[in-house]
Subunit: 377 residues, 2 copies
């Protein structure tokens, strides 16, 4: 993997970049929708590419359970399996494993859980996570980390952060696929000293890119930014930075200003399936009775299949009857919005207008927030 | 509506036709997938048109319940509401009403039911059904008929058939939209004398087209063909004939040979959602473990989005995780098969090869049958 910074904002730490792998390249800042099970829910990979999405985030744990990482390896890796033309990242599965485990099931070795599919016991270790991710063959893979719960006392947060460091070291040793970039993960909960220490130590181990984890789990927006403000200065400037699980537009721009390059979040896709649509004219909740006879498109200024073909009245009807066709069309709308938002962010960095875009998005989409454990689907 | 016969088979009563309405024209024999709620489940109207489907069948009763026929009338009718480029038929809702009602709720006036949505009582009469269908604005609409249950004694079948005739007369009087063609419906259960009498009397009332109802409700294939053999000779030769609820490929060809022009059925769409796929090489049940690592497309000879983009292994995975994306891709595959099947039927009528195609399809798709009350979704 190669990362070239192509433009810098004079008023902030924001930058544009070109992230390249053997499979191609993407422009950053970039947003990755969740394709946890090797599919963005209700949509085909072809649909997602047509929306202008460059990269998706799959989940090692979900894919280990079904269809199994060997099946995907046999198929030539995730890109072939999904026939996806863009880049792919995989999450280590840490977050999902921890949501299934009791804290008492966590030892220095790893995490003991039972398969949600058939109840068979699985010992998930850094080595297993990396082996699975090597088999899946994504362009970017994540170290297996101890996802610190929230809220969490300083002492427990410190223990969890230190374990994450040891697991990062083991992840690096286990990694065995030169075509994949392994990202180290910063933890430390809401504690500035721990975030700083975590970032410093993870940078010392040394990775081609870094992710900020354990955010958007219920803490305040200010605490997310504190985590970034303390961690990012400790990480090598020229490497790509990924903020895990944050997808609120104004929060993403605030993070870009701090030097973040990559995002993943379920918000645009999950919100679409719940009828919350992003438009340049503001949020539309398509379930509202006011749209029952509204012949206008969701957004006049959007070129997605939902906006170019169907009325709000028709989408309202499809949503009310709980049609899978609605989930797809609304998901494609929100992803088109996110693809264009990231384009606008990159443009604004080039032209020095990021502050203006930030204010506009804060006003536009401010009424909905993230912070619901953004990494789950 | 205009119907021109453009070719006749020398070996049977099969014919090709051009059915035209103000909205455009379609080639017959034609198959209409069920879009009961103004949507083919899991697919967008744009998807369905791209599959080569010319006409869809919506349901007056479902649309009366949601979103309400006034909403669709306000939108300029179903074609505008759905933004559907082809022709549309609506079913009278008789079948759905009868599935909700007790036989004791049926009087000469109509059928008393409670709304499946909010429990409010609705008296469905021929006049209401036609009013709703006039508001929906489809090209072809159906008389409100008494759907004879199966099995049914001769006496009850006769009473039901006679009521259907009186309701057909009331439907014709109530019909008040010159741009729509109202089809009369033949009933008579499995009794040749009743089918003959029903067809004769319905032809005497006089309609621009006719449908054969009360078939594919559990009776044998031979009984379906007896119903056709006795009814069709009594109906005006040059009018279009619709066989309601039959969608088994070989049965459709057998019906075409008897002079049927139009079909509707849930089989291709419901089977797709249940993982049963039609291919020119035979039936594929995508849930089978044998497809887990199968990198081939569903069908080498199919040009649908599922076959041109994805492997059996990927579709198997999407189906196993119960993904709406699978329902859509598999539905589009089956509808593409049905669109091409109807093309081949029309071609075979022109070239005198219908018998050969019939034998081929009986061998190809013989293992699955209809007869599950094909009119429900």
């Amino acid at each position: 993997m190669d990362f070239q910074i192509t433009a810098r904002d004079s008023a902030s730490s924001a930058r544009c970049g070109l992230l390249s792998s053997a499979a191609g390249h993407i422009e950053t800042p970039a947003f990755m929708p969740c394709a946890s099970h090797a599919v963005v829910r209700a949509c085909s990979p072809q649909d997602i590419a047509a929306a202008g999405i460059q990269v998706v985030m799959c989940n090692a744990f979900h894919l280990l359970i079904r269809p199994g990482s060997e099946v995907i390896q046999q198929a030539g890796g995730l890109r072939n399996f999904m026939n996806w033309p863009g880049l792919i990242a995989t999450d280590s599965g840490g977050f999902q494993v921890f949501s299934l485990a009791d804290r008492s099931d966590i030892t220095e070795d790893g995490v003991s859980i039972r398969s949600p599919l058939d109840g068979r016991p699985i010992q998930v270790t850094p080595e297993l996570s990396i082996q699975v991710q090597n088999q899946l063959g994504a362009d970017i893979i994540m170290a297996f980390d101890d996802c610190t719960p929230y809220p969490c006392g300083h002492e427990e947060a410190a223990r969890s952060m230190e374990r994450t460091l040891r697991w990062a070291q083991r992840s690096k040793v286990a990694h065995n696929n030169a075509e994949q970039a392994l990202f180290g993960i910063v933890q430390g909960s809401v504690y500035a000293d721990l975030r700083r220490e975590s970032a410093r130590a993870i940078a010392e181990i040394g990775f081609p890119g870094y992710a900020i984890g354990g955010v958007s789990v219920g803490e305040s927006e200010a605490e997310i930014f504190t985590a970034l403000d303390t961690a990012l200065p400790e990480l090598p400037l020229e490497t790509p930075k990924h903020l895990l699980g944050v997808g609120v537009p104004a929060q993403m721009i605030a993070a870009v200003k701090r030097g973040v390059d990559l995002f993943d979040c379920v918000l645009p896709t999950r919100n679409a399936r719940h009828g919350l649509l992003y438009t340049w004219e503001g949020i539309v909740r398509i379930n509202n009775a006011q749209y029952r006879e509204d012949s206008r498109p969701l957004s006049q200024s959007c070129d997605c299949p939902a906006c170019t073909h169907y009325s709000r009245a028709y989408l309202h009807h499809l949503f009310r009857i709980e049609e899978a066709a609605a989930w797809r069309l609304l998901t494609l709308h929100n992803l088109r919005f996110f693809a264009r938002l990231m384009e606008q962010i990159r443009e604004a960095i080039g032209t020095g207008n990021l502050g203006e875009l930030h204010a506009r998005m804060a006003a536009n989409t401010g009424e909905q927030t993230g912070g619901e454990g953004g990494k789950t689907t």
